[in-house]
């Protein structure tokens, strides 16, 4: 049985997928994950999840975010408006990063 492993490097961080292990049950999956994925990288917590329990949908099957122009829902589109506050500017910067990665892929 295969278990997918998610590692969190410090408290409060996101658990990110980092690999998988073979194990007959959850208890051993946790032990193997700790040894294989938790001992060199900085680790605070690990999750193990049975591989078969994971659902997947990918870009071949669907068009994520739709197929129409949705520039109206980006802060970056409102170019005549300066961000009102630091938190608005921060959100806009995050969106600009994502937009850049989307453009790079297209």
């Amino acid at each position: 049985m295969i278990w997918e492993v998610f590692r969190q490097d410090k408290p409060g961080a996101y658990h990110k997928h980092c690999g998988n292990v073979h194990a007959p049950d959850r208890e051993l999956a946790l032990q193997f994950a700790a040894v294989q994925h938790g001992r060199r990288m900085k680790t605070h917590s690990l999750w193990v999840v049975p591989h078969d329990e994971i659902g997947e949908i990918d870009a071949d099957e669907t068009s994520f975010g739709g197929t129409t122009d949705k520039t109206y829902r980006w802060a970056t589109s409102y170019t005549d408006i300066e961000p009102a506050a630091p938190e608005v500017a921060e959100s806009e910067a995050e969106q600009a990063d994502v937009e850049k990665s989307l453009e790079a892929d297209s």
Partner: protein, 314 residues
């Protein structure tokens, strides 16, 4: 974990569902996050009619995206609240539908004209974002994670709201006057968004002690005013004389004279006991009823065919 340990360890993203948290913490966090989730739903319902009433296709599209975002935020927040193990998502949704669930003061008032829209879409959303940015550092990790995504999306809401305000305040004299009138109506409510002043707040101290909140009501209100008073003035809005807003030169910040605000109204609203409260809560019930036929036809369709690939909701 006992309460003393919680207070010692309290800090950004310090506690997770795996931690054995004391009941006081779990209840306080549930109350706070459920309130936040309810407010996202009720804010969405308040703005929903303006998808139809928007004056241009751009505004219509942006509004529909925004309302969709708000309902999505509610979903994230109910999940974060549920992770405390006090109430299930269904229980919280039932409480809201019954009129027992509490939500933000501003969403208890009807919003009828387009001139009022930026009062919510710019000022209230700006206030919400100002508060939410500090909640990225809440001690309950699932709540902080929800805030990451919420804040990512909100930048568009606030800029879109400001764009509407800019348009109205560059419109005809009549439009500007109507917008000013809306501002005067909404301004005290917007200030009360941040809740009672520290000395009158019921839950403030505990929430700060255990790291659920990182800033007090007063700090948030003052720094909000520092940014948004100049913004209002920039667009030619005149800040009403009351409540008195005083500039503190020494601390370089604005304070509000809290005695000038109507706290009876605030506490009536806080109990869902105002006329507007019932109207807003019922608008949700009415919307549910009005689209019952959509659910029914989808149910029939799903039952009849083998239900094909689900389409993206947007």
């Amino acid at each position: 974990m006992d309460l003393e340990t919680v207070k010692e360890r309290a800090g950004p993203r310090q506690f997770a569902p795996k931690d054995d948290m004391p009941e006081e913490y779990r209840k306080a966090a549930t109350r706070m996050i459920q309130f936040h989730a309810n407010s996202e739903v009720m804010g969405g319902y308040l703005e929903k009619p303006f998808i139809r009433q928007a004056p241009s296709i751009d505004r219509k599209l942006a509004f529909s995206a925004k309302v969709q975002d708000e309902i999505g935020h509610a979903q994230l927040l109910y999940r974060a609240a549920e992770s405390l193990g006090v109430k299930t998502r269904d229980e919280m949704l039932d409480e809201l539908a019954r009129g027992d669930g509490k939500f933000l003061n501003c969403f208890h008032y009807p919003m009828e004209s387009w001139h009022e829209v930026p009062m919510i879409a710019f000022f209230v959303d700006g206030a919400a974002m100002h508060r939410q940015a500090t909640l990225k550092n809440t001690s309950w990790t699932p709540y902080a994670h929800a805030m990451d995504k919420v804040c990512f999306e909100e930048g568009f809401h606030v800029k879109h709201g400001e764009s509407i305000l800019s348009e109205l305040m560059n419109g005809s004299k009549a439009t500007q006057e109507k917008t000013q009138a809306a501002f005067e109506t909404w301004w005290p409510r917007i200030i009360q968004f941040f809740g009672p002043t520290n000395d009158k707040s019921v839950h403030n101290d505990f929430a700060q002690e255990v790291g659920l909140k990182t800033k007090s009501n007063d700090e948030l209100r003052d720094t909000f005013l520092d940014t948004y008073v100049p913004k209002a003035e920039k667009y030619g809005l005149v800040v009403p004389e009351y409540p008195r807003i005083e500039y503190d030169g020494e601390l370089d910040t604005y304070h509000v004279n809290e005695d000038d605000l109507n706290w009876d109204e605030f506490w009536t609203i806080a109990k869902n006991a105002s006329e507007g409260s019932h109207e807003q809560i019922n608008s949700r019930a009415q919307a549910q009823e009005a689209v019952e036929w959509v659910r029914e036809s989808m149910h029939d369709w799903e039952g009849a065919s083998g239900a094909g690939t689900p389409q993206a909701a947007d």
